[in-house]
C-alpha cells in the first residue's frame, strides 16, 4: 500500500513541476469565443473595419467579429490586380513633386465624422514617407484624392480629423528645413529645422481637400494627434518627442528629458489669424491629385503656394503641455474633457483636463517658454495619473462608458482603466508587442464599443510559420463585459498600425453597384459595340474597345507596328453588380486592367517584337470567359500592314467581318 502512495506522490510531484513551467497561450480563450466570432454562411459581419497596411501602402477592409479580409484598397501603392497606378487613368494619382512614387508607408486612418460620429462618407489615410493624405470614397471604396504635404517629412501625426470633418491634419514627424532650403549642415538643426502642422480643409459638399494653412512650430518630432471634441472642439492636440532637438543617436539623445510635450493648438484662433491676414505666403511645390468619377480619369496638378502661420509670433495659438516621457499616443475621450498622453518610456499615464487647460491659459499659469511658445504647468492641467498601468503605454481608445483602454507595447497587454478615478480595472495579455488598438468608434463622441482589436507587432507561435517572415497579427477582444475577453486571433495584410471601424450599415447603405454607362464621360468611352473602332494618330494607336460577357469588340486587330504606342481604352458595357471584366495582353510591361461595369479603363502597351499577341479577359466573368479573347498582329516598324479590326457583332459580320481603322 505504502509503495503505491509513494508512487502516487512522486507522480503528483512530477505533474506539479511540469505545471510550473510558464503557461503557453493555448488557455487564452474561454468557452464561447468561437460562437461569438462565427458568422454563418449567408450572414454578414456586424462591423466593417478599415485597417492600415503599413509598408504595403494599402488599406484592408476587414469584417468583424469574423476577422475576414474583404478587400484590399490600393492607396499609395500600385496594384497590379486592378491596374491602379498602372492604368492611364490612375497613374496621376501617384504623382508627387518628386515624380511618380508607386509606394508608401501607410499608418493611420480616419473615417469622416458629422457631429463627432462616423458618417460613412470618406476614409482618410496618411502616407508617412513622401508626405501625403489620401481620401477614399466609401461609395466605391476607391482612392479619389491624394494631396502631397509641403514643408513636411514623415507625415506621421496624420490624418486625424475634427468632429465635423472641417479639417484633417498632417503633422511632420521629422523636423525639417522649409522646402527648397534643405541644403544645410545637420549641425544647424536648432536654427533651421522646424515642425510644420498642416490643416487640410475638406469641402462640405465635394470633400475636396486643400491646405488651408500650416503652422510653423518648433523643430520637434510630431508623433500623433487627435482633435478635441464636444467642449474641446476647436482644439487639436499633438504629441511631440525629441524636445532635446538632438540630431544623432536619438535612441539615447532624445530620451534625456523627463518630460516632452503635448502641443495644444487652438485651430479656431489660427483660422481667425488667417482671416486677419497674419499668414505669410510661402512658395512651395506639392501635388494635388484628383480622380473624377464622371470622366473616370485622374489628374495631377502642382500647387505652388501655402499660407503659414508662425506659432512663435502668434502667441495664443499653441501651448505646450509637459508630458512624461517621449509621448506617443495622444487621445481625447468621448466627452472631449480628457486628453490622454501616453509616454512610451514613462511608468504612468498622465490624464489632462481640458477645463484645467483653459483655466491655466486664462491665468497664464506658465512654467516657461520653448522657442516662444508658453509651457503650461504640469500640475495645473493634470487631471490625474494612472499609476503602474504596465510598460510602454502607446495608444488609448474609449468605450463610451467612462473606460479607457491602453495598449502596452513592452509588457504586451491591454489595460482597461477608469478615466475619472484613473484606477486600473482589468488587464489582458496580447501576443505580442501590441502597437495600436482600436475600439469600434473608439475615437468618436459615441463609441460603438463591444469590440476591441489589438494590432500586434510580433506573432511567433500564433500562426503556421511561413519562413523568416511571419503573418501580421490582430486580436479581437469582447469588451462588452467588465472583463476583456479574447475572442480571436486573425492574420492581417501588411503591418497594421491603426484602424477605424463602425457598424456595417453605415457603409453598406451607400454602395455604388455599377457605373451608369449613360453617365460615363470618359473621353475615350465606347458606349456600344457599334462605336468600337481603331484609330491611328502617328505612332499612337487608340483602340476603342468594349467588353461584355463573353467577348471583346474588336477581338482582332492587325496593322500595329513595333514602336507604336497602343492604348486599349476598354469600356465594360455590363450594367450589373459584380460583373467586372479583366484585360491583359501578352508582353504588357505594366499590368492588367480590372474594369468595373460601366467604367472605361486604359492600358498602354508598347510591343517590342513583331508577332501575334493574344489578349484576354482575366476575371472569370461567365461560362464563356475562356473564349473571351482576341489577337493583335504586330508587324515590324515601317511595314505597311493595313490597320484593320474585326467586330464580332452579328450585324457587322453579315456585312463585312473586317473594318478599316481610321488614320488621323
Amino acid at each position: 500500500m505504502k509503495t503505491y502512495k509513494k508512487i502516487g506522490l512522486a507522480a503528483f510531484a512530477a505533474v506539479s513541476i511540469v505545471a510550473c513551467k510558464p503557461k503557453g497561450t493555448e488557455t487564452a480563450v474561454s468557452g464561447d469565443a468561437a460562437q461569438k466570432v462565427y458568422v454563418a454562411p449567408g450572414k454578414h459581419d456586424e462591423v466593417m473595419s478599415f485597417v492600415s497596411g503599413g509598408f504595403n501602402g494599402q488599406i484592408s477592409v476587414v469584417g468583424l467579429p469574423s476577422g475576414r479580409t474583404l478587400k484590399i484598397v490600393p492607396v499609395f501603392s500600385v496594384h497590379p490586380e486592378n491596374g491602379y497606378g498602372f492604368s492611364e487613368e490612375t497613374k496621376p494619382m501617384l504623382e508627387t513633386s518628386h515624380g511618380f512614387i508607386p509606394w508608401d508607408d501607410q499608418h493611420h486612418l480616419a473615417l469622416s465624422q458629422t457631429n463627432g460620429e462616423i458618417d460613412g462618407r470618406y476614409l482618410f489615410a496618411n502616407a508617412n514617407n513622401t508626405p501625403r493624405v489620401a481620401k477614399i470614397d466609401l461609395k466605391t471604396f476607391r482612392t479619389t484624392e491624394i494631396l502631397e504635404i509641403p514643408n513636411s517629412a514623415g507625415n506621421h501625426s496624420s490624418p486625424f480629423l475634427t468632429e465635423n470633418t472641417e479639417y484633417v491634419v498632417a503633422g511632420t514627424r521629422f523636423a525639417v528645413p522649409v522646402d527648397g532650403q534643405g541644403d544645410v549642415p545637420i549641425e544647424s538643426f536648432k536654427e533651421n529645422f522646424k515642425g510644420y502642422l498642416s490643416f487640410i480643409g475638406i469641402g462640405k459638399e465635394d470633400g475636396k481637400m486643400d491646405i488651408t494653412f500650416q503652422i510653423e512650430a518648433p523643430g520637434f518630432n510630431f508623433d500623433l494627434s487627435h482633435a478635441g471634441k464636444g467642449k474641446s472642439h476647436g482644439w487639436f492636440f499633438f504629441s511631440c518627442y525629441n524636445s532635446e532637438q538632438a540630431n544623432t543617436l536619438l535612441e539615447v539623445n532624445a530620451s534625456q528629458n523627463e518630460k516632452d510635450f503635448i502641443m495644444a493648438v487652438n485651430w479656431k484662433k489660427a483660422e481667425e489669424y488667417l482671416k486677419a491676414g497674419k499668414a505669410k505666403k510661402m512658395a512651395v511645390e506639392y501635388a494635388h491629385n484628383t480622380f473624377d468619377e464622371s470622366t473616370q480619369m485622374a489628374k495631377s496638378e502642382i500647387l505652388k503656394e501655402v499660407s503659414v502661420l508662425s506659432a512663435k509670433e502668434l502667441k495664443d495659438i499653441c501651448y505646450l503641455i509637459p508630458c512624461p516621457k517621449s509621448p506617443h499616443g495622444c487621445d481625447v475621450d468621448p466627452t472631449g474633457e480628457y486628453i490622454i498622453g501616453s509616454g512610451k518610456l514613462a511608468a504612468l499615464i498622465p490624464v489632462f483636463s481640458f477645463d484645467k487647460l483653459m483655466k491655466a491659459i486664462e491665468k497664464k499659469d506658465f512654467s516657461g517658454e520653448f522657442d516662444g511658445i508658453p509651457i503650461l504647468k504640469y500640475e495645473s492641467v493634470l487631471h490625474g495619473e494612472v499609476q503602474k498601468p504596465g510598460l510602454g503605454p502607446l495608444h488609448t481608445e474609449f468605450d463610451g462608458k467612462g473606460n479607457a483602454y491602453t495598449s502596452m507595447f513592452v509588457s504586451s497587454e491591454v489595460v482597461k482603466w477608469d478615466i475619472k478615478t484613473c484606477k486600473v480595472l482589468d488587464r489582458t495579455p496580447t501576443f505580442y508587442s501590441v502597437g495600436h488598438l482600436m475600439v469600434v468608434g473608439g475615437d468618436t463622441k459615441k463609441p460603438y464599443g463591444k469590440y476591441l482589436v489589438a494590432y500586434n507587432k510580433i506573432t511567433k507561435d500564433r500562426y503556421l510559420p511561413t519562413g523568416p517572415e511571419l503573418a501580421q497579427s490582430a486580436q479581437l477582444f469582447d469588451i462588452s463585459g467588465d472583463k476583456m475577453k479574447l475572442l480571436l486571433d486573425f492574420p492581417t495584410i501588411g503591418e497594421p498600425h491603426y484602424a477605424q471601424a463602425g457598424p456595417a450599415e453605415l457603409f453598406t447603405k451607400n454602395q455604388v453597384k455599377f457605373y451608369k454607362l449613360a453617365e460615363n464621360k470618359h473621353p475615350y468611352v465606347t458606349r456600344g459595340e457599334g462605336e468600337s473602332k481603331v484609330v491611328r494618330e502617328g505612332n499612337k494607336v487608340h483602340v476603342y474597345m468594349t467588353s461584355i460577357r463573353s467577348h471583346f469588340a474588336p477581338d482582332n486587330i492587325e496593322g500595329v507596328k513595333v514602336g507604336d504606342e497602343v492604348y486599349f481604352h476598354v469600356t465594360n458595357l455590363e450594367q450589373d453588380w459584380d460583373v467586372p471584366h479583366g484585360f491583359a495582353v501578352k508582353g504588357a510591361q505594366n499590368a492588367e486592367l480590372l474594369i468595373m461595369p460601366g467604367e472605361t479603363s486604359t492600358l498602354k502597351w508598347v510591343p517590342v517584337k513583331p508577332g501575334m499577341y493574344p489578349m484576354y479577359c482575366t476575371d472569370f466573368c461567365s461560362a464563356l470567359h475562356q473564349e473571351m479573347q482576341g489577337y493583335v498582329r504586330v508587324s515590324p516598324a515601317g511595314s505597311n500592314t493595313p490597320l484593320i479590326y474585326s467586330l464580332n457583332n452579328k450585324k457587322d459580320n453579315a456585312q463585312s467581318p473586317v473594318k478599316e481603322g481610321e488614320t488621323k
Binding site: I548, R549, E574, D576, W577, S622, A623, L624
Partner: protein
C-alpha cells in the same frame, strides 16, 4: 319604370371598374421574377400596357447564352394597342352607367371576356415564341430543352427559378372580368324578373 334603370350598386361598381381600368394603363400588368445562384437578389421584369420595365436588359444579356432573342418593347404591336383597349373598356363602363344601359353592360362583358382570353393567349404565344425560337448557333444547347417561362406560377429553367404573376394591372383586369360577369348575371336576373 324603375326596372329599366341599372341597380345602384351596379353603377357604383362600374364606375370603380372604369377607374380601375384607367389605372391599369399606368401600372405594371404582369411580373416575371427570376432567381439563380449567381443572382441571389433576383431579377425582375414587369410588363406594362405600353412598355417593359425592370432588369430585362440583364436578362437579355444572360439569354444570349442559350440563343434567346433580345426583348425589346418596340417589337410588340401589343404595346401600341393595349392602352387604348383599356381606355375603351373604361369608357364603356362609364357609358353604361350614364346611359343606364344594360345592353352596353352585356356588350362590355362579352367583349372584355373575349379580349381577356385573347390577351392570355397572346401572352402565352409570346412566351412560347421566346422559349422555343432559339438561335441554332447558341453557345449552350441542351437537347430537348426549351425555355418558355410559366404563364402563371413557377417553373425551373436550367439554373433559373422563374415565377410569373399578375401585377396590379393584371389583378385589376382579372377582377374586372369577374365583376363584370357577376354584374351582367345579376342585371340579367333583375331584368327578367321585371318582365
Amino acid at each position: 319604370m324603375k326596372t329599366q334603370n341599372l341597380n345602384k350598386w351596379t353603377k357604383v361598381l362600374l364606375i370603380i371598374l372604369g377607374i380601375g381600368l384607367v389605372t391599369a394603363i399606368f401600372v405594371p400588368i404582369w411580373s416575371i421574377y427570376l432567381n439563380a445562384p449567381q443572382y441571389p437578389e433576383g431579377l425582375a421584369m414587369f410588363i406594362h400596357s405600353n412598355k417593359i420595365s425592370g432588369e430585362f436588359q440583364i436578362i437579355n444579356g444572360l439569354n444570349h447564352y442559350i440563343g434567346m432573342k433580345e426583348i425589346h418593347a418596340d417589337e410588340f404591336w401589343e404595346f401600341k394597342v393595349l392602352p387604348y383597349a383599356l381606355a375603351f373598356f373604361a369608357a364603356l363602363c362609364f357609358l353604361a352607367t350614364f346611359l343606364n344601359s344594360r345592353k352596353i353592360l352585356y356588350a362590355l362583358t362579352g367583349i372584355f371576356l373575349t379580349f381577356g382570353v385573347g390577351f392570355v393567349f397572346d401572352f402565352w404565344r409570346w412566351l412560347y415564341d421566346y422559349g422555343h425560337n432559339l438561335n441554332p448557333h447558341a453557345a449552350i444547347i441542351v437537347p430537348g430543352m426549351s425555355y418558355q417561362p410559366p404563364l402563371l406560377g413557377y417553373k425551373q429553367l436550367l439554373n433559373f427559378e422563374v415565377w410569373s404573376y399578375p401585377n396590379i394591372g393584371g389583378g385589376i383586369m382579372i377582377g374586372a372580368g369577374v365583376i363584370l360577369i357577376i354584374l351582367a348575371f345579376v342585371e340579367f336576373r333583375i331584368a327578367k324578373k321585371a318582365i
